[in-house]
Symmetry: C2
Subunit: 404 residues, 2 copies
């Protein structure tokens, strides 16, 4: 294989295990003889264009143990960016790749990141500069095309399931004070994380009681009726809402109603509006119930103490796989995972494979129809079977009040 | 000592270790020969008045291990309430105590709960019914009078310090995308939990950069200047705000400004308004920075996987101490902790003592003046010395970008 230097970057929002992929990549790259210097880009492609490089062999790390610490370090240790590549950036990037003798490009990221590698690799090929470009998937949203699931998702899912399990116990015990709670998950297009909250439910009365997905528009009357029915039946109601949920008329739930005098259509906590806040206000005003809302925003993306162990291991392996693919002469692909278990009772197992970068860049993976119930307010058992091995076992708590 | 039955309750908002106190109480009570039945009140005094009692000896628990599970179970396992005792409730309560042969009353709670025991115990004494009443402290707010700190506080503080440490790394790595984040802590009157977030800061550039306390009114211009200075200096700014913070004119920060067309003075996420949301909007509008807000609300009160080990142990011991006090013939007191270490370099150690219920019921423990810096935007080193042993060690992460 061609001798050359290596460039590694992390792009887009972090996950709790994106540094595990970085660790896998660096460790595997250090073992390849054809690789010269191993550069990390500070702040992704944006920083690379400013020549912000870290020499990951010479890195002033006191010992190898510190590099292993990446397995348990939150954030994107190299620094990240959401910079969208412009056509005019491509010649400049090629020039810099040549200047630093880089022949191998590895980026850890989502579909925008795969688009970046894809375009850089294409441009280099067309302009006669040999470059190997491999993508390592990450996103908490789990909506990347071509892979059974995405590293980072399961850990965010575990954070959410744990939080809802804990907060559900609290809400049950506090039902004489508060009648409801609304927990908001990130996920603008896909409800995978909202769905994962349902793993917290072991008994019919457990939280969550209602889960809303960006894939299924909400009807105000039906939402209110479902909440009131739940409170009438068990005394309280715990609701999980994806930040990207829409009302049936297409308005984002996060957009406050006109009559409040403020309307903001930016999703999530970024725009000073949020689905949880709107839903909380609606329920409070229409039912008179007292309740709270919980908006953890990016906290599940960095909670390294609550990761799914399987996720951490897979993230690290995806990093290693990218290097193996490069060594085998592959380019223009993203590492993927294929679940090879025969069914839910079969032990969970994945095989690693690839998807063309071009496909990943333009497609997405919304939740399949049959993963959401007909009412659009809870994931189906099939969905939970898909999620369970990723998220891992949840704790068992002691019940004094109920004997189920 | 007098033979009689025992009544145990949990009142007010849960903490992550309130069930550890319950476990300590039940276990110690089971060892006392003079104690007959051990009743738990479902939903505190409110449920007691409805005769909702659980027999904690006969409880259908498969084995002792399940009761020990209370050490790791979130919520208030008996069910809680915020019911404020009325004068006319007292004769009814005395009647029920007599009906169930209860001579020993133990409640785990905050100042309202101590007021409840105090009044019930006084009423019984004055009406000639012998009743021992002992309080076990709990509150995440740490504002109970008469004790160095309150069980539950350190665990919520640890959740917050961990979250801010993790989210701070994420924010640092994502500074090319988001310039700021606002994290809201509970605490209406006291800034103890907001202060604890500062334990996340190990290096000068680490989060948090600004911490605001209910004890110190905020000045809009000074807040904005401090945020802008921080972003200019290090590229991003992480802000922690107590839910009960006020502007200098006395308006709650959580109350949205008039020009937004909605004004809500209820604190926290309950009222559909929040300090983090208001501060986020102000900063976004006045600086143009993009950023996010994080409102965990009651999640730190139930995160049993993130407790401070010292806190869990102390909570359990406070429960046991309450029984020991009753056995020694004490009544009308709350268990307290007195820190007996000579200074920050001395190993942390507490002794258990008592405070009169009447004092705890009417007094509070705000942060002392010298625990907040003169600018009112960060805790002092003395404050951090006080907090550190309670919260325990925080993880060390790997740095690739900086070499500090």
């Amino acid at each position: 294989m061609k001798k050359g230097n290596v460039l590694i970057g992390q792009s887009g929002g972090p996950t709790a295990v994106i540094n595990a992929s970085l660790y896998g990549l660096i460790e595997a790259a250090r073992e390849v003889e054809a690789f010269g210097r191993i550069y990390g880009m500070e702040f992704a492609i944006e920083g690379f264009m400013e020549k912000r490089l870290i020499d990951l062999r010479q890195q002033a790390l006191p010992d190898l143990e510190n590099l292993q610490g990446l397995m348990h370090t939150p954030g994107s240790a190299l620094g990240s960016s959401r910079y969208k590549l412009k056509e005019e950036d491509l010649p400049r990037i090629r020039e810099l790749l040549e200047e630093f003798g880089i022949r191998y490009l590895f980026l850890i990221g989502g579909n925008d990141t795969m688009d970046t590698i894809h375009r850089v690799e294409n441009y280099c090929r067309e302009s006669g500069y040999e470059l190997t470009g491999i993508g390592v998937p990450k996103t908490v949203d789990n909506d990347l095309y071509g892979t059974d699931h995405t590293p980072g998702f399961a850990s965010a899912a575990r954070y959410i399931a744990l939080s809802v399990q804990q907060a559900g116990r609290l809400a049950d015990d506090m039902q004489r004070v508060d009648r409801f709670a609304v927990f908001q998950t990130v996920g603008r297009e896909a409800g995978w994380l909202a769905a994962a909250s349902a793993l917290a439910k072991k008994n019919p009365v457990d939280a969550p009681h209602l889960v809303f997905f960006p894939e299924r528009p909400l009807n105000r009357e039906k939402v209110l009726t479902a909440v009131k029915d739940c409170v009438a039946k068990i005394g309280w109601c715990y609701i999980v809402v994806g930040e990207g949920c829409l009302w049936e008329n297409g308005t984002p739930v996060s957009a406050a109603r006109e009559k409040d005098g403020f309307a903001n259509t930016e999703f999530g906590a970024m725009g000073g509006a949020s689905a949880a806040l709107s839903l909380h206000s609606l329920i409070r005003e229409e039912t008179g119930y007292r309740g709270e809302f919980q908006i953890t925003e990016s906290l599940p993306m960095c909670a390294v103490d609550r990761v799914s162990e399987i996720d951490r291991e897979e993230a690290c392996r995806c990093g290693r796989k990218a290097v193996e693919l490069a060594v085998k002469g592959r380019t223009g692909v993203m590492v993927t995972m294929k679940r090879v278990s025969a069914g839910p009772s079969d032990p969970y197992r994945v095989e690693y494979s690839t998807a063309p970068l071009g496909d990943v860049a333009v497609r997405a993976k919304p939740m399949p129809e049959h993963f959401i119930n007909p009412e659009g307010n809870f994931p189906t058992p099939e969905c939970l079977d898909y999620l369970r091995p990723l998220v891992g076992e949840l704790p068992v708590y002691t019940n004094l009040r109920r004997t189920e």
